[in-house]
């Protein structure tokens, strides 16, 4: 068993789960990834094409893990197009983790799209610790809802619940995760809010958490070249997502001018979110 996380492992894709027409989960065997903490990421090598940071998806088989990819750029499309039996390279898992304090009894988990990946690993940890999770899963429309079954399996028998919402109301509750969160925190109390997804959603989650004085943690995404604190591509203010994150708490996020505002492009220029 390799213990050095920097050492590249070459693994075979053993199973492919089609989540939506543009989202797939690729399952592989790798012990270090199996033991990944919620919020940690892998650098995934698609030979001769790209290497991209991916949050580690949970898998029910012992010793296995997965990545869930949305077809988008060159790297993610190449990974999306991999077939069962193809080889990919891994290094990591890198980064810090979501923390679940001993005193926590009930947490609110808010995810959008593939942002649910680290949150499901967290929910699984929470289930084992007998912490109640209220999971809010958002999508634009019914066809883009995925992970519902795996989420129900993770939280089963723990007095936890899953709330699915769609922007157009074609499935579950009509509205965004943010509007639903507003209602939930008004009616119930939570020990902590955990979020991952589009940055503007996370920014709104931070604002509501701050207004209601609830601790909050978010797992951030940025373009990375190295994943290990050398290239500087993933900086927000003076923090590096790869080395200081991917998880930041409410205090850190509130002090970041770049959070919800800008990111760095491949050449290092600042680009503003629209």
């Amino acid at each position: 068993m390799p213990t050095d996380i920097d050492k590249r492992r070459i693994v075979q894709i053993e199973e492919i789960i089609s989540e939506t027409p543009t989202v797939k989960t690729l399952v592989f065997k790798d012990r270090l990834s199996y033991f990944a903490k919620p919020g940690q990421f892998l650098m995934i090598w698609i030979p001769r094409i790209e290497e991209i940071p991916m949050s580690v998806m949970i898998n029910s088989k012992e010793g296995y893990a997965a990545v869930t990819i949305r077809k988008f750029g060159v790297g993610s499309t190449a990974l999306f197009d991999r077939k069962k039996g193809d080889l990919i390279g891994l290094r990591g898992p890198y980064g810090n983790r979501f923390t679940l304090r001993k005193k926590y009894r009930k947490i609110l988990v808010i995810g959008g799209g593939t942002g649910l990946v680290p949150l499901l690993r967290l929910a699984s940890f929470a289930s084992k610790e007998k912490v109640r999770s209220i999971i809010v899963m958002g999508a634009k429309t019914k066809a883009e809802v995925f992970f519902e079954k795996v989420t129900r399996n993770i939280i089963r028998g723990n007095n936890s619940s899953l709330l699915v919402c769609t922007d157009d109301g074609s499935y579950g509750i009509k509205g965004t995760t943010v509007t639903l969160m507003g209602k939930l925190v008004r009616d119930e109390s939570f020990d902590c809010v955990y979020t991952c997804g589009p940055e503007l959603m996370m920014k709104a989650v931070l604002d509501i958490s701050n207004q209601n004085s609830i601790p909050v943690q978010a797992s951030l995404e940025r373009y990375m070249k190295c994943g290990i604190g050398i290239c500087g591509s993933c900086c927000l203010d003076s923090s590096l997502v790869c080395q200081d994150g991917t998880v930041f708490d409410g205090r850190q996020l509130s002090n970041m001018l770049d959070f919800g505002f800008s990111y760095r492009d491949k050449d290092g220029q600042k680009i503003n979110y629209e």
Partner: protein, 308 residues
């Protein structure tokens, strides 16, 4: 900003630049953000060299661009990605007291003169000219291997600034001492040695080169003895300050480079395992060393190995 202690026994002089300690950030590492520069400064760094900046923004090569090889060594072919002259002057425009050296890269005299004209009014210490990046065509080492081009470029930068200029040399086809001499004769004030060394890594399972550019530069612990040799030879032949670079991960490595003849020492790859706090750790350790050895100022050990 921390006020420098009058009895600072780690301060060094590089030409007319005063550094509170000999540690510097090597070019190519974390070098694009003013907020990160401030964080490094708070970690007690002596000076910061930015990523190599070109006139136009460069996206660099596709990933993989950085490979950790283990044992403190790394292979990279980032491809000189940088935000370019315009965006980077804006980034540094609010800089007041962070000691920043801008690394410059380009293909022609015209490009270098445009950059120096653009940057010269900023609060910066000076320039480092990258003539040794081993993996980008028509830039870096491809210029460094051409004595005439080196001479013209260094001279152009000299004509456009009164600030100190260091030329970063590497192990290419011209002898490193010869290259350093050409740079100094053309008007450079000091030499930075060395850059990464051309290297490659192939994955045996997929049977493919790992770097997208196939060939890159080796950095980290593996190249330290080569860096020490180059600094030793350059400082023996030329009466100018030399900045050591290559494989520094602890106070011992800093001291070793200084004993070989370096007036300051750049640190880079080790940030991949230790993060920015390594600068504070190394400065604290250097302080312990000079106190233990009863050295009044660390600059007393510069080139001490030349006695033997």
């Amino acid at each position: 900003m921390s006020i420098e202690d009058k009895n600072n026994n780690l301060s060094v002089e590089l030409d007319n630049i005063h550094l509170r300690n000999p540690t510097m950030l090597a070019s190519g590492i974390l070098g694009i953000s003013q907020s990160i520069f401030e964080r490094l400064f708070n970690e007690n760094i002596g000076a910061i060299v930015t990523k190599s900046i070109s006139v136009d923004p460069m996206k660099g090569y596709p990933n993989p661009t950085v490979i950790p090889l283990g044992c403190g060594s790394y292979l990279n072919a980032v491809g000189l990605s940088n935000p370019g002259l315009h965006a980077f002057s804006k980034e540094l425009s609010q800089n007041k007291n962070i000691p920043i050296v801008i690394s410059l890269v380009g293909s022609s005299e015209k490009e270098f003169s445009r950059m120096v004209k653009g940057f010269d009014s900023l609060n910066i210490l000076g320039y480092e000219i990258n003539l040794s990046c081993p993996h980008v065509s028509k830039m870096g080492m491809e210029v460094g291997d051409d004595p005439e081009a080196v001479s013209k470029i260094v001279n152009t930068v000299r004509m456009n600034t009164n600030k100190p200029i260091s030329v970063k040399v590497g192990v290419g086809s011209i002898d490193v001492v010869e290259l350093a001499r050409i740079a100094i004769d053309a008007g450079a004030n000091m030499i930075t040695a060395i850059n990464t060394l051309r290297a490659m890594s192939i994955d045996v399972e997929t049977m493919m080169p790992i770097l997208s550019n196939r060939i890159g530069g080796l950095s980290g612990s593996a190249i330290k003895p080569i860096g020490i040799r180059c600094v030793y030879e350059i400082s023996k032949q030329l009466q100018v300050p030399v900045i050591g670079c290559g494989g520094v991960s602890s106070w011992r490595d800093v001291i070793e480079y200084m004993m070989a003849g370096a007036s300051a020492v750049q640190i880079g790859s080790v940030l991949g395992s230790s993060g920015p706090r390594i600068f504070n750790k190394i400065t604290q350790d250097l302080k312990k060393y000079v106190e233990k050895k009863r050295i009044a100022n660390i600059s007393e050990i510069i080139g001490i190995a030349h006695r033997y």
